[in-house]
Symmetry: C2
Subunit: 190 residues, 2 copies
């Protein structure tokens, strides 16, 4: 997606070979015009997939996933990273270990919000090793729902996330694919 590629090249800050800071337009500050375009682009890409629900993981995925849900006129489900005190009835739960962040967390989804008839589009901000997406897929499968597609804002194509998900047969659309990062260097895939 041209608009997001340009923004990443202009405002993204490559800290080292692994870390790309996008907090001025995606993670910490959000440009609503860009984010609306991001949602419309996902909605357009997945328009023929029969999507019934958009799913994301709190919290960086919420704004782009909500923007996508708005464009698709489909409900958004936010997978919670730790069970809240008021979300305690029947839950699907799974543990996700993030190598990037060096931490584990529990993802939860209330079982009454999803069914075997749902065709789900997973939206997340980054794809690196694919742990978060894989955790989301596990939860969706526990509900016997179908993962109809995975939409990613920024893919670190030099990490194995895409390959791992494609091996399992999932359709992935990344708006920006990064071939290489290094201090002050951002190279997009050709």
């Amino acid at each position: 997606m041209k608009l997001l590629e340009e923004k990443v090249l202009q405002e993204g800050i490559a800290v080292n070979e692994n870390i790309l800071k996008v907090d001025s337009f995606i993670n910490h500050q959000i440009d609503p015009v860009l984010m609306k375009a991001i949602g419309e682009d996902f909605a357009d890409h997945f328009k023929d997939c029969g999507i019934t629900k958009v799913v994301t993981i709190e919290s960086s995925g919420i704004a782009p996933a909500f923007s996508t849900a708005l464009a698709m006129q489909a409900p958004l489900l936010i997978l919670k990273k730790s069970p809240s005190k008021v979300l305690n009835e029947n839950m699907y739960q799974t543990i996700v270990t993030s190598y990037t962040k060096g931490a584990s967390y529990e993802l939860t989804l209330a079982s009454h919000l999803i069914s075997e008839h749902d065709h789900v589009l997973i939206i997340d901000d980054f794809l690196a090793n694919g742990e978060a997406a894989t955790g989301a897929i596990r939860l969706i499968r526990k509900a016997h729902a179908t993962v109809a597609g995975i939409g990613i804002l920024i893919e670190k194509s030099f990490q194995p996330g895409r390959a791992k998900l494609e091996e399992q047969g999932f359709s992935i659309y990344s708006q920006v694919r990064i071939a290489k990062l290094d201090k002050d260097v951002i190279e997009l895939m050709p």
Copy 2:
């Protein structure tokens, strides 16, 4: 706001005198049509306040605040609940203690994303004791920016949050004001 009042009465679940579950339309699943209307309502209410930025606290506030930012065409700032590894440069930080949740957390805001010229609208899902809003106000004041208004989806009017904020001179608009909660009982303010 009529639409949200109706939804709270229809789908909200009053667990006890303190806890109202709204996870089927605000916190866990989001209805994009309702959330768009929520944002437009806030944008309309605060349209003459010279808002330059919308601010919220991760993560339940993100969807309504993004919807408001979209309607106002203003950037959204998400106050982070714990500093991420990639957000480590100049930060404003403050500790918030939530009596409701029985926990403390650190709120952070990157200093380069806000200035003394900003007029900020704070959006959050719930107002109860006002700790989260007060923490957000502390961060915004550290930046010498102005809090131009506070927009809340659901106010527990039987708790002291509104009074504490009004004492400090802030303008609060709550879309739904709840007079009383009890098991299976939701009473709105007249």
